[in-house]
């Protein structure tokens, strides 16, 4: 199992919060609740958080499981460099984003969930974790060494069939027994 990478849980929590914020915002806008402006903000904030959190980070130890179709998101998130790589930035960003959600009932849940995600990200940042993009590994084309490229033109020298019979009683020895004496190149 190994040491816990808090960022993985923070990521799940933040993605869930983004969806909750988005749903609350949609309800607030669709129902034309009082303070619907906060709901409209929540829709935008929810979408932003979802886009930011969708690509999973590469784990420092172990295999990373990608989310379906996350490659394009990974590329986008990667372009922001240290802003998205550093989890302190994410923690404070989520803390800041969640605040306006607290002003309206429909978005309060999203606000609190995002706040919790922010705290977990803070824990991850303190432990030195950071976001790494999962990029497809380029298939390494190994150039075969020169000698392999040319297949042998002639069959190997073999003794006549009667000398090729296998010594069944001692197979281990037979492997090293050459029917024709060989001498080292002098």
């Amino acid at each position: 199992m190994g040491k816990i990478e808090w960022a993985m849980w923070a990521n799940e929590q933040a993605l869930a919060s983004g969806l909750i914020l988005l749903t609350g915002g949609i309800v607030g806008v669709a129902g034309q609740f009082r303070g619907w402006q906060f709901a409209a903000y929540a829709v935008a904030a929810g979408v932003f958080v979802c886009l930011l959190e969708y690509p999973r980070s590469k784990r420092s130890k172990g295999t990373s499981v990608e989310r379906t179709g996350q490659y394009c998101f990974t590329v986008c998130v990667k372009t922001f460099g240290p802003l998205t790589r550093n989890y302190y930035v994410r923690a404070f960003l989520h803390a800041a984003i969640c605040v306006p959600g607290g002003f309206m009932l429909a978005t309060v849940l999203g606000c609190v969930c995002l706040g919790i995600a922010s705290l977990i990200y803070l824990a991850a940042a303190i432990r030195g974790e950071h976001w790494e993009p999962i990029l497809p590994r380029k298939a390494e084309t190994r150039k075969p060494p020169e000698s392999i490229k040319k297949p042998p033109q002639n069959p190997p020298p073999r003794p006549p069939p009667e000398m090729r019979k296998k010594r069944v009683d001692d197979l281990e020895g037979a492997a090293y027994d050459n029917p024709i004496d060989v001498t080292a190149n002098e």
Binding site: G2, M8, Q13, R34
Partner: protein, 565 residues
């Protein structure tokens, strides 16, 4: 199709019944709140009232169900009793975790509907207080109960507030937020990625369910959903009096002011029994864990496998069962499941533990694995055991012909089965129903063969002595190998004993051609039910399940059983 029904029929039936009850509760309680008792409430809230109460009823039902599949000891007991009546029903109990997850998803869904409906309700209640115009019925209704603070309809009692504040100052609101947060945290930490990688996070966070259930029980104590009292309904008939709301209670009017009260909280009736059952379950686990377990032998196998042989008073097991092992000196809170590799006929029980993580590594060191000299018996760590718990492997002996497939370390339950079958044969020549076992072991590396190969070798020898050489037909597949090893295999191809395992039956390379295997077995055993048992990765399970379904014809039926932790 028939085999599909045999394998999946009961599961599908259970799920349909469960969905049916959910749908019934939803629709039923939706209609209940369309009754005239809630007429005035609906004046304020419209359909949102029903949309909130219907999922609430479904939530009661699902929260009752969710604790039941995780009462391991209860399920084990049930499995033992049901087994004598119906093997299929007993197998259904093995899918308890799947059911637990389904119910959890349903709870999440109904919670979402419930919350969204209540968002509208809060907004409408607030609207009614803010539009302070006595010619509006909602406002008049909201003013009721200002004097005695008991017969009111609108839980928001003043216009100098907002829904968020109201939520945090009512019992229903506070408990609602708390339990929803608990639910969300439980769900996010239960995602497969987290569960498989950091079990501790999943396990500890999951204990938030305690908060969930406490909050759930108290959620309705504020009696915030209010309808007309029966007495008031007789005096003030909503269909007649609603339009005359400006004259309520005035002299000469036939309509007194209506009075309202909330329903008593009902959730506890649903969840109390399961909560008590679960508490009993945990008590049983604690009790079992305190019974003394003695390690009688520790064997270090080359393949980074630790074998622990233990004894415990009153311990009895069936083949292929598993136990939870705890080592207080490593961690007081961690219990890890391991399949028992010993047979019930032996006087000890054993588990082969592969060293993969920090807990297993610590166990290895505590048992003196890293030291060269043998460990003194009194230095061995104290161990606690919970279990044994049953899995599908117990059913092996009920089939005449059996296919056992184990991948890597997944072969462990079959160690127990093979040993037990052998003991049954040699002890009193018991009549064993199982006549033929086909055993497949898929392994990525040669090193993992060691301890199991020893077992197979001894079984092989004993079987030849007894003249039962074809009782067990086993096939070991090496799925990965290095170039250097491959050369060695090629040279020794003609040898009598396999170069890797030393067994008479040769190791095969690559993956088995399941189609061929199933066809061969089907042709050799017409007219029988063949049990197929797998302990391995889900992908293999899917392909085996497909093979079972496709090769089951009129006379031969392949029944697929998967073991899962």
């Amino acid at each position: 199709m028939e085999n599909f029904a045999a394998n999946e029929g009961l599961s599908i039936f259970v799920i349909l019944v469960w969905l049916g009850i959910n749908a019934f509760l939803f629709v039923n309680f939706y209609i209940v709140f369309l009754d005239r008792r809630w007429f005035y409430t609906r004046v304020l809230l419209g359909q949102a009232l029903s949309w909130a109460r219907a999922p609430a009823a479904a939530l009661n039902f699902n929260c009752m169900l969710i604790l039941l599949p995780v009462c391991r000891n209860l399920l084990s007991f049930l499995r033992g009793t049901i087994q004598h009546c119906s093997r299929t029903a007993a197998r259904q109990l093995d899918r308890n975790l799947t059911f637990h997850k389904l119910v959890a998803y349903m709870i999440a869904f109904h919670t979402a509907v419930h919350i969204i409906a209540h968002l509208f309700n809060f907004e409408y209640f607030m609207d009614a207080q803010l539009n302070r115009n006595s010619s509006l019925l909602p406002f008049v209704l909201s003013e009721i109960g200002n004097g005695d603070n008991a017969s009111f309809l609108n839980p928001i009692r003043t216009n100098e507030t907002n829904p968020t504040i109201v939520m945090f100052t009512t019992i229903a609101g506070l408990t609602g937020v708390a339990i929803t947060l608990a639910l969300i945290l439980i769900i996010t930490s239960s995602m497969e990625v987290i569960r498989r990688s950091y079990f501790e996070v999943f396990w500890y966070t999951h204990h938030l369910f305690v908060i969930f259930f406490i909050g759930l029980v108290f959620h309705g104590y504020g009696r915030i959903v209010r309808g007309q009292t029966p007495a008031s309904l007789r005096a003030n008939n909503p269909e007649v009096c609603a339009d005359q709301f400006e004259d309520w209670g005035k002299n000469g009017s036939h309509c007194p002011v209506p009075e309202f009260a909330g329903n008593p909280p009902g959730t506890w009736k649903w969840v109390l029994a399961p909560m008590i059952l679960y508490v009993c379950e945990r008590i049983v686990r604690i009790y079992r864990s305190h019974q003394k377990v003695v390690i009688t032998k520790v064997v270090m196998h080359p393949s980074k496998t630790l074998e622990l042989q233990m004894k415990k008073k009153g311990f009895s097991m069936e083949v292929g069962q598993y136990v939870f092992i705890q080592c207080p000196s490593i961690s007081r809170l961690e219990w890890h499941p391991f399949t028992l590799t010993s047979a019930p006929e032996e006087d000890y029980f054993s588990a082969h533990i592969r060293i993969v993580g920090d807990w297993t590594q610590a166990l290895y060191e505590a048992c003196g694995g890293d030291k060269n000299e043998t460990q003194e018996a009194w230095k061995l760590p104290k161990i606690a055991i919970d279990g044994p718990f049953g899995t599908a492997s117990e059913d092996v002996f009920r089939y005449e012909v059996v296919m056992l497939v184990g991948a890597g370390i997944g072969v462990t339950p079959f160690a127990s089965i093979l040993k037990s079958v052998w003991y049954k044969h040699i002890q009193n020549n018991q009549e064993v129903f199982t006549k033929k076992i086909y055993f497949y072991w898929l392994c990525p590396e040669t090193q993992a063969f060691e301890w199991f190969a020893d077992l197979l070798q001894s079984l092989e020898g004993q079987m030849t002595e007894k003249g039962m050489a074809d009782f067990l037909s086993y096939n070991i597949y090496l799925t990965r190998w290095k170039e250097t090893e491959a050369a060695h295999f090629r040279v020794h191809h003609e040898a009598e004993n396999d170069p890797i395992t030393g067994l008479k039956q040769k190791t095969l390379y690559g993956k088995p051609n399941w189609d061929n295997e199933f066809t061969n077995i089907a042709s050799k055993h017409p007219g029988t039910k063949v049990g197929v048992f797998l302990c391995g990765p889900p992908a293999l399970g899917k392909s085996l399940e497909k093979q079972c379904l496709s090769h089951s014809e009129d006379d031969v039926k392949f029944i697929f059983n998967k073991e899962n932790f």
